[in-house]
C-alpha cells in the first residue's frame, strides 16, 4: 500500500470575482521513502494542493477528492484527528523561515513544545532531543544557540531550525513548500544538500514543492509538473529531464539559466503569462503560450502513459505510451461545471 494516495483532488476558492479553480483534479501516489517534487509556476496550484492535504486551506477554500494517508482519508478527518497527524506523522516546512517561527519564543521553547505535545515527554528530555536534532542539521554550538530567539539566526539557519523541528517526531512524510526560494544560492545549496542527506539516511517520504527544476534535479525520485491546477506531466526524474513530453516541461527546462552553457544567445523564455484561474480556457490550458499549439488543442488533450509510468497530457504522442484517459476522465473543469 502506498503511503499517500491522492485521487481526484480539487481545490477552489470563493472570491468576490467568482470561483477560483486552483487545483483541478490531481491523482498521485507516494511510496514510503520516496521523494516527489511538485514543480510549477506561481498560481499553478502546487502549494494549495498540499495545503488541502494538511487541512490548512484559507476560510474561503473548499476541497474535494480523497487523500489516503496510511489508509485513512485526510480529507474526511476532523480537526482533532488532523492535529494528531500534523506535526507528528506529516511535518511541513514553509517557504519563509522567518514568518514560520514565533519571534517571541526561544528556539528551545518552540522545539520542545512539539515533542512535549506529541510524545508527552518532560521538558528536560524534550530539550535534549531538540539539541540533538539541531546538531543533526549542523547548527554550530546547539546547547548555546537553542536559548536564542529567531532574529538571532540567519535565514539559512532558521530554515535549518524549521527542518530540525519538523524531524523531531520522526514523521513518515515531510512536505517542504519552496524551502529554499527565500535564500541565497549558497545557502540554498547547503539546504538542498541537507534534504538530500536526510532522504538517504531516513525512511521518510518527502514532497518538495518548487518553481525551479534545477533545485530538485539531484534530490528527487519522481516529478509532477503542474500547470493551471492540473498535472501536465509526471515521471521519474530521468523521464522529466531527459525525455520531457509536454511542451511546458521543455519550456521550464530551457528557461533555467545554466552555468555550463554559453550565454551568447538570449535565454529561452516561455512567452505570455499563466492563465486566469477564474476563467480557464477549455481545451489544453497551456495552448495560449505553446509554440506547438494547433486546432486539436481546443479540445481537452488526452493523458498518455508508458510502461515506466511516465505520464503526459498533450495532443502530441508520448513515445511508447498509450492513452489512458481522453476527454471524459480528469478533464479540465470549466467554471460552469464546477459550479453545478
Amino acid at each position: 500500500m502506498a503511503l499517500l494516495e491522492v485521487k481526484g483532488l480539487r481545490v477552489s476558492f470563493a472570491t468576490r470575482e467568482g470561483e477560483v479553480h486552483a487545483v483541478n483534479g490531481i491523482d498521485f501516489c507516494l511510496e514510503e521513502g520516496e521523494t516527489l517534487a511538485i514543480v510549477g509556476e506561481s498560481g499553478s496550484g502546487k502549494s494549495q494542493l498540499v495545503m488541502a492535504l494538511m487541512g490548512l486551506l484559507a476560510g474561503n477554500g473548499s476541497a474535494s477528492g480523497t487523500a489516503r494517508f496510511k489508509g485513512q482519508d485526510l480529507m474526511r478527518m476532523s480537526d482533532k484527528e488532523l492535529n494528531r497527524v500534523r506535526g507528528k506523522e506529516i511535518a511541513m516546512i514553509f517557504q519563509d523561515p522567518m514568518t514560520s517561527l514565533n519571534p517571541f519564543l526561544t528556539i528551545e521553547q518552540q522545539m520542545s513544545e512539539v515533542v512535549m505535545h506529541h510524545q508527552g515527554l518532560p521538558r528536560q528530555r524534550a530539550r535534549e532531543q531538540a539539541v540533538e536534532m539541531l546538531r543533526a542539521v549542523r547548527i554550530p554550538d546547539p546547547e548555546e544557540r537553542i536559548r536564542q530567539y529567531p532574529h538571532e539566526y540567519s535565514g539559512g539557519m532558521r530554515q535549518r531550525v524549521m527542518i530540525a523541528m519538523s524531524l523531531l517526531c520522526e514523521p513518515d512524510l515531510l512536505i517542504a513548500d519552496e524551502p529554499t526560494t527565500a535564500l541565497d544560492v549558497t545557502v540554498q545549496s547547503q539546504i538542498t544538500r541537507l534534504i538530500g542527506e536526510l532522504r538517504e539516511k531516513t525512511r521518510m517520504a518527502i514532497i518538495l514543492i518548487t518553481h525551479d527544476l534545477a533545485v530538485v534535479a539531484g534530490i528527487c525520485d519522481r516529478i509532477i509538473v503542474m500547470y493551471a491546477g492540473q498535472m501536465v506531466e509526471s515521471g521519474t526524474v530521468e523521464d522529466i529531464f531527459y525525455r520531457p513530453h509536454h511542451p511546458y516541461t521543455r519550456g521550464l527546462l530551457a528557461s533555467v539559466p545554466r552555468l555550463d552553457v554559453d550565454s551568447g544567445n538570449a535565454l529561452h523564455a516561455i512567452p505570455g503569462n499563466p492563465p486566469n484561474l477564474l476563467a480557464l480556457p477549455g481545451g489544453c490550458c497551456f495552448r495560449d503560450r505553446c509554440t506547438e499549439a494547433r486546432a486539436a488543442c481546443a479540445r481537452p488533450p488526452p493523458m498518455w502513459q508508458d510502461a515506466g509510468g511516465h505520464m503526459g497530457r498533450c495532443v502530441n504522442e508520448l513515445p511508447g505510451g498509450q492513452v489512458i484517459s481522453g476527454a471524459s476522465a480528469g478533464h479540465y473543469a470549466t467554471p460552469a461545471e464546477a459550479g453545478s
Binding site: E41, T186, Q188, S189, T192, A214, L252, P257, D260, L267
Partner: protein, 352 residues
C-alpha cells in the same frame, strides 16, 4: 577606449548603530560598502553578485545618491555626484534610474499602470501636454511588452512579471543613460525571469544604456553582463570579464558562488552533491574578520590571510582580484578540486 560614463572611486558607506541602554550606550559601525571602485562605459553591462548582506544594494543606492556615502567619489560624466546640491542631484535622476527587486511592493497599488509610468514625466516636465504624456506612456508600455490598452489597470491586476515590466517602463520613460537593476528577477518564477532578462538585454542594446545588474546568482548575471564584480562583506573580491570569470575565476569566493548554482541535470547534480566547501554563514558585519574578510570561510586559507588585507590588484588579462594567492591557485571550474564535473560539461564549455 572611450571615457567611462560612470567612474566610482573608493566609495564607502558606513552605518552606525547604537546598542546598550541609556548608560552603557555604545556606538557600533557597520561597513556596508568599504572602498569600491569601478568604471562603466556607455552601452556596457556590469553584473554585481554577492550573498545577502554583501552590500550590493547599498552600493547601488549610494551611486544614485539615495544614501549619502561616507567616503569616495561617484563621477558621472566627469561630475562628482556626491558633491552636488540636492536640487542638482534631483535633476541628474533623469539620467540615472533604478528598477527594484520586489515588482509589486515597488508600485503604488492606488495608481494605475499609466499613472505609475507617467509620474516621472509629470515630476520633471510639468509643462508637458497631457496628450503627449499619454502618447509617451503608451509607447513605453509597448516597448516593454505590455498592451497599451492596459493603461488604466491597477498593479494587482498584473502578474509579477508584468509588474516588473511596469517598473522597467517607469525607469526608462525619462530616457536615462544609466539603469541600475537591483535583483530585478529574484522574486519571479524561473520561466518569467528569462522574459525579463531578455527584455533588459534588448532594451539595453536598443537604447545604448549603461547597465548595472545586481543579483545573488551568477548563472543569471552571465546572460546579461559584459563584466562581473563579485562582492563580499562590502568589498570587491574580483572584477573580471565575463568569459574569464566563468572559465577561470580568480577568487575562491567567486568559485564558491559558481559551485552553489544548482545543476539542472539529475545525473550530474548527484555527482557534485559531495562537493561543498562554502560552509557556514557570512560573519557578523559588526565584527568582520581581520585580514581578508573571506578568510573565515576560505578553503585556501594561509596564515597571511588572517593578518593582511589583500588589495584589489590587476592580473595579466586586465581582470582585478583581491586575493593573496591569486597567482598560485588554479580555480578553473574543471580544476581537480571540481573533479565531480565530468568531461561532458567541460566539453560544452569549450575547454580542453
Amino acid at each position: 577606449m572611450s571615457e567611462p560614463v560612470l567612474r566610482v572611486q573608493d566609495l564607502a558607506v558606513y552605518f552606525s548603530s547604537q546598542t546598550g541602554g541609556l548608560l552603557r550606550r555604545q556606538e557600533r559601525e557597520l561597513k556596508a560598502v568599504d572602498g569600491i571602485s569601478f568604471d562603466l562605459h556607455s552601452g556596457e553591462t556590469l553584473g554585481i553578485v554577492g550573498e545577502s548582506g554583501s552590500g550590493k544594494s547599498t552600493l547601488a543606492r549610494a551611486i544614485l545618491g539615495l544614501i549619502p556615502p561616507s567616503r569616495g567619489r561617484v563621477m558621472w560624466m566627469g561630475e562628482d555626484l556626491t558633491r552636488l546640491e540636492p536640487e542638482q542631484l534631483r535633476q541628474k535622476r533623469k539620467e540615472l534610474q533604478i528598477v527594484f527587486q520586489d515588482p509589486i511592493a515597488s508600485l503604488n497599488p492606488r495608481m494605475t499602470a499609466g499613472a505609475i509610468i507617467a509620474e516621472p514625466l509629470w515630476t520633471f516636465y510639468p509643462q508637458m501636454e497631457d496628450l503627449q504624456v499619454e502618447e509617451r506612456t503608451r509607447g513605453m508600455m509597448k516597448m516593454v511588452g505590455l498592451l497599451p490598452n492596459q493603461i488604466n489597470r491597477y498593479p494587482h491586476e498584473f502578474s509579477g512579471g508584468q509588474c516588473q515590466r511596469i517598473g522597467i517602463a517607469r525607469s526608462l520613460v525619462l530616457n536615462p543613460k544609466l539603469l541600475i537593476c537591483d535583483e530585478p528577477v529574484s522574486a519571479l518564477d524561473v520561466s518569467i525571469q528569462a522574459q525579463i532578462i531578455n527584455l533588459l538585454r534588448d532594451l539595453q542594446k536598443k537604447l545604448g544604456l549603461a547597465l548595472i545588474f545586481i543579483a545573488h546568482d551568477l548563472s543569471i548575471v552571465r546572460h546579461i553582463s559584459d563584466r562581473v564584480m563579485v562582492m563580499y562583506m562590502g568589498h570587491s573580491m574580483e572584477v573580471a570579464n565575463k568569459a574569464d570569470l566563468y572559465r577561470r575565476p580568480l577568487h575562491p569566493y567567486s568559485r564558491a558562488l559558481m559551485k552553489s548554482v544548482p545543476i539542472p541535470d539529475p545525473v550530474q547534480a548527484r555527482k557534485v552533491k559531495q562537493e561543498s566547501w562554502l560552509t557556514g554563514d557570512m560573519p557578523s558585519p559588526f565584527n568582520p574578520p581581520r585580514g581578508c574578510v573571506f578568510h573565515s570561510r576560505c578553503p585556501y586559507l594561509v596564515k597571511r590571510c588572517q593578518t593582511d588585507v589583500p588589495a584589489l590588484r590587476r592580473l595579466g588579462h586586465g581582470d582585478w582580484v583581491a586575493c593573496h594567492r591569486a597567482e598560485e591557485l588554479d580555480l578553473s571550474i574543471d580544476a581537480p578540486a571540481a573533479s565531480a564535473v565530468d568531461a561532458s560539461t567541460t566539453g560544452k564549455l569549450g575547454l580542453i
